[in-house]
């Protein structure tokens, strides 16, 4: 099949599946079959695109010239490929998980859930394959809007307020800061193309580079750099599959992905280092890493704790971009994939606990691990990968990020990274420890609780095995990340 058609198909298929999901609303089994088939097809397509890309095929397609000189354009490049690959694979796994979760939870409005989920995934793939900053921004905003109904899914006052914070912060930052930054870039350069080495060098007065870069970094609210991180904890009112795939992988990674894209292809790493654009921004990233970890320790609600952990881990990737050295970019790009697999495992486990034991607070989870060994085992593996211990994939990205700080000579930031890893231990490991060794306050409740539904378990086992597997065989992601970092 034609390569161009493949990209379009990957983006369009999830949108097309919405029609099927809505039409089959009355037959849940058929409806879920549509989701699963589409997810499997998208997964297969993305892997095919990857193999074609690996063979060196150049894949780009212009759809329409929206404004003079500005096309809606799709293009496959290493970083986008990496992102798309993760999303494609994890959507399939999450779909398996959602079926068990949503049915176990007896959730109303499941049709709407699956339909909006598919749209969100389509937009994420659009973001990943966006061939210029204009297209990227279009999909970025569509992603924000399409995830709103998912966050507000429960329809309660709490969900409504959480969703309001979510959409409010994301729209405010993207319209108020990011759009302005894009327009300034366009006014200065007359182009929004992604080009190796950037388009701003030589056109923008270096004195203004720092300000413009800050507009981008804070304007990309999905990267959750403090003080614009509040939307992520607020989004935790969503059903767990949404938190797992969208707010640990798709949406937040769309944010840091955009940061990396802007850094590499709009500014160009040389321009950033020579103009000192990121000199003071790195402290915002460093601050985010530490503060979010500290806040995570104070959270008793498991999903909230994981949310703050995500904020902190996103800080790693943003820091990788800001340092703009080879190693840090490699580490940042790699962390997109490693963190994705680990964090989705943690959320899967959190959701499984919620469905099986109806518990969301960590202080209630004493002794649960003994009746839900697979869930808590998966949680343990995910935690270790996030902390960055061998033999799990998370080690690699942290390693290269640390190397990046050394390369840039930022010893203080190296300390921040190491300190944060210690904090990771302090807020993640108590969960499995309490689960396996803690004594339940009320011994009788534990006996009535069983393991989570099978589909949830399957999903968790796959992702936790992936964490292990990626330690020994990180090659696909490593190569893509390497190409990304090399493209400077």
């Amino acid at each position: 099949m034609n390569d161009q058609v493949l990209i379009l198909l990957a983006v369009a298929l999830p949108f097309a599946s919405v029609a099927g999901i809505l039409l089959l609303a009355r037959w849940p089994n058929l409806r879920e079959a549509v989701t699963l088939t589409t997810a499997a097809a998208v997964c297969a397509i993305v892997i095919t695109v990857f193999s074609r890309f690996h063979e060196g095929a150049l894949m780009a397609v212009d759809i329409v010239e929206t404004l003079p000189g500005l096309f809606i354009r799709f293009e496959v490049e290493p970083l986008g490929m990496l992102f798309a690959l993760i999303v494609g694979v994890l959507w399939l796994i999450t779909s398996i998980y959602s079926i068990g979760y949503m049915r176990g939870h007896n959730d109303p409005n499941q049709t709407r859930f699956y339909a909006m989920f598919a749209i969100a995934i389509g937009s994420t793939l659009g973001t990943a394959f966006a061939g210029n900053l204009f297209t990227l921004f279009v999909w970025y905003e569509i992603l924000t809007i399409s995830t709103y109904p998912l966050v507000a899914h429960a329809g309660t006052d709490r969900a409504r307020l959480g969703a309001r914070t979510y959409v409010g912060i994301l729209l405010a930052t993207s319209i108020g800061l990011q759009l302005l930054a894009i327009l300034v870039t366009y006014a200065v350069t007359g182009s929004l193309d992604f080009r190796e080495g950037g388009i701003l060098a030589g056109k923008l007065d270096p004195a203004w580079a720092g300000l413009l870069y800050a507009l981008f970094i804070f304007g990309i609210g999905k990267a959750a750099v403090m003080p614009f991180h509040r939307w992520l904890p607020a989004a935790m009112v969503a059903p767990t599959p949404v938190s797992a795939l969208l707010h640990a992988v798709a949406v937040v990674k769309a944010g840091v992905f955009t940061v990396l894209k802007v850094t590499i292809y709009i500014f160009g790493t040389d321009f950033i280092t020579s103009s000192g654009a990121s000199d003071w921004l790195i402290w915002f990233a460093g601050g985010t890493i530490l503060l979010a970890s500290l806040v995570a320790m104070t959270q008793d609600n498991l999903k909230l704790r994981l949310a703050y952990s995500t904020v902190s881990q996103l800080g790693y990737i943003v820091l990788g971009a800001l340092l703009a050295t080879n190693m840090s970019l490699l580490g940042g790009a790699l962390h997109i994939s490693m963190h994705a697999f680990a964090k989705i495992t943690l959320f899967f486990a959190a959701g499984a606990i919620l469905v099986a034991a109806r518990k969301s607070d960590i202080s209630d989870m004493d002794g649960l691990g003994r009746v839900m060994p697979i869930t808590f085992g998966a949680f343990l593996i995910g935690s270790l990968s996030i902390i960055g211990l061998p033999p799990f994939g998370g080690m690699w990205s942290k390693w290269y990020l640390a190397m990046g700080t050394v390369e840039a000579g930022q010893w203080l930031l190296l300390t921040v990274l190491l300190l944060s890893s210690l904090l990771n231990i302090a807020y993640l490991l108590p969960v499995p420890v309490r689960g396996f060794f803690g004594k339940a306050g009320d011994g009788t409740t534990v006996t009535r609780i069983k393991e989570a539904p099978a589909s949830c378990l399957i999903a968790m086992i796959i992702t936790s095995l992936a964490c292990l597997f990626l330690f020994f065989y990180p090659d696909p992601f490593y190569e893509l990340a390497m190409n990304t970092a090399g493209a400077r």
């Binding site: 569509i142 006052d157 409504r160 309001r164 729209l171 108020g176 327009l183 006014a187």
Partner: protein, 494 residues
């Protein structure tokens, strides 16, 4: 034959149809004739636009009297775009009107209603076509008088006060315009726009010319509801019949914006605007308009009034574009004239659909309706996104050009105000969305079903247009750029 008289036909056709409609028997017949007329107008307007997109100009001498002595209809890309917009909105409002009008207007007034509607269309199309300032005034009066009548036909008795308020304000505006035109005529002895432009050049510094200009600008500002002369608008939109709020919101103020562009940039010139404080006054009023009207919209408790205040804010955007007085700025204004008609048309149609089902646009009646009317709700949501300026919708294109023009002008404050306006739009649109979807329905006994297809189809046509013109801007931006080229706006001096 048709092609040569195209420009005149566009005005004469509804003018001839109006009296015929008035004498038709009550029932569906007046509606049908109006429908056919508006669709014919749409075809003619599209034809006309296709003739001038390449930048050419059609000059039509009325009655064979050569300009500048006779009345000239002078069609360039800008006229044709506005004419297309008016006839397009009219053509799409008519199917929508069938049921809503039957419900809101007493049966014995139906033929009168459609006759007046056609007259209003004549007035608006005439304004778009003519190249003669006095002729323009006449058409403005035709459209204004007929719209007072249309508003007064609203169901509630308060429609009468709303119409009266508009009548007073509109008449003051029209009088000011006439005084201004009179002063220019005294100075130059001509009424033809192009001729006026040439004859005014050597006497631009005359006090009389300045006075005339001031009268004209204030007069038009009243008609386009420029902040702070907007007070007539919210009630006029709220109390008028649903189909009329759609039609007026999408066309009347846009036509006034067109008159302003013509007067300021064709009759006078960019240099005149920059030499006088005009551009700064436009910018100042635009900034205040965007912010204050958006804030006012947030505090409304009635959907139609909310939309009306939002219209005032959006008009302020157009005025900002004029105030920037650059090619990019005026392009943004023209594009926004077109796009805003699409989104406000859709939103007022949706509001009308809600009113059709529950009889009121008060917030307390609308609680939870979104869940029972999913298509209407989805339309409000998407049109709202367009109003905010989310990429992928028409509204984004307008905002894009407007901010770009502000950056080119190096007015950072203006750029920030435009974006801030978008954020305020998020606030009031989200208020509407949450209320329609999350509040429990007030009266549990009330069973609300989706609006009928006659209402949904036109609404969704506009919604699809909102998305289409957000992705493919060949028509809007292309024509606007051609039009701005013809206006001959000088480049910004550094």
């Amino acid at each position: 034959m048709i092609e040569q008289n195209l420009s005149l036909l566009l005005v004469v056709l509804p003018l001839l149809a109006a009296p015929v409609t008035a004498i038709l028997p009550q029932g569906k017949a007046p509606w049908l004739l109006t429908l056919i007329t508006t669709w014919l107008c749409l075809i003619l307007a599209s034809w006309q636009l296709s003739l001038v997109t390449d930048g050419s100009v059609i000059s039509y001498a009325l009655g064979g009297w050569a300009p500048p002595w006779g009345i000239e209809y002078r069609i360039d890309a800008m006229n044709a775009l506005v004419a297309l917009l008016i006839s397009g909105i009219a053509a799409i409002t008519l199917p929508y009107a069938l049921h809503t009008v039957e419900k809101e207007i007493p049966r014995h007034q139906l033929s009168l209603f459609y006759a007046v509607f056609l007259l209003c269309l004549v007035g608006l199309l005439g304004i778009a076509q003519t190249g003669d300032v006095f002729n323009l005034f006449v058409f403005l009066e035709i459209s204004s008088l007929s719209s007072y009548v249309l508003i007064a036909m609203g169901e509630q008795r308060r429609a009468l006060t709303a119409a009266f308020q508009y009548l007073i304000m509109g008449s003051i505006g029209a009088t000011f315009l006439l005084i201004g035109i009179g002063l220019l005529f005294v100075e130059t002895g001509t009424l033809n726009m192009l001729d006026l432009h040439e004859r005014l050049q050597p006497i631009m510094h005359h006090r009389t010319v300045h006075t005339g200009f001031a009268f004209i600008v204030v007069g038009i500002a009243l008609k386009l509801a420029l902040f702070p002369l907007h007070l007539w608008l919210p009630n006029a939109y709220k109390y008028s019949p649903s189909a009329i709020s759609v039609f007026l919101a999408a066309t009347a103020t846009k036509v006034a914006v067109y008159i302003m562009l013509r007067m300021v940039f064709t009759v006078f010139s960019t240099d005149f605007v920059r030499a006088t404080p005009t551009d700064h006054i436009f910018l100042l009023l635009g900034v205040f308009g965007v912010i204050l009207a958006s804030i006012a919209a947030i505090y409304q408790t009635d959907m139609k009034r909310l939309l009306a205040y939002s219209s005032i804010a959006q008009i302020s955007y157009m005025v900002l574009g004029m105030g920037l007085a650059s090619a990019l700025g005026v392009t943004a204004t023209l594009v926004h004239v077109f796009n805003h008609a699409l989104m406000k048309g859709a939103l007022f149609m949706a509001a009308g659909a809600l009113v059709y089902r529950v009889g009121s646009s008060q917030f307390k009646k609308l609680d939870g309706l979104g869940r029972h009317m999913p298509w209407t709700f989805a339309a409000i949501f998407i049109a709202g996104l367009s109003l905010i300026g989310i990429p992928g919708t028409a509204g984004f294109i307008s905002k894009w050009y407007l901010v770009l023009a502000a950056i080119e002008h190096q007015s950072w404050l203006i750029a920030l105000v435009i974006l801030l306006g978008s954020l305020l739009t998020v606030v009031y649109m989200w208020k509407l969305v949450e209320l329609l979807f999350f509040r429990p329905i007030t009266d549990p006994a009330l069973t609300v079903t989706e609006a009928p297809a006659w209402l949904l189809l036109p609404m969704w046509t506009l919604i699809i247009a909102n998305i289409y013109f957000g992705i493919n801007t060949e028509l809007t931006v292309g024509v606007a750029e051609t039009a701005v080229n013809l206006l001959g706006i000088a480049a910004i001096h550094e």
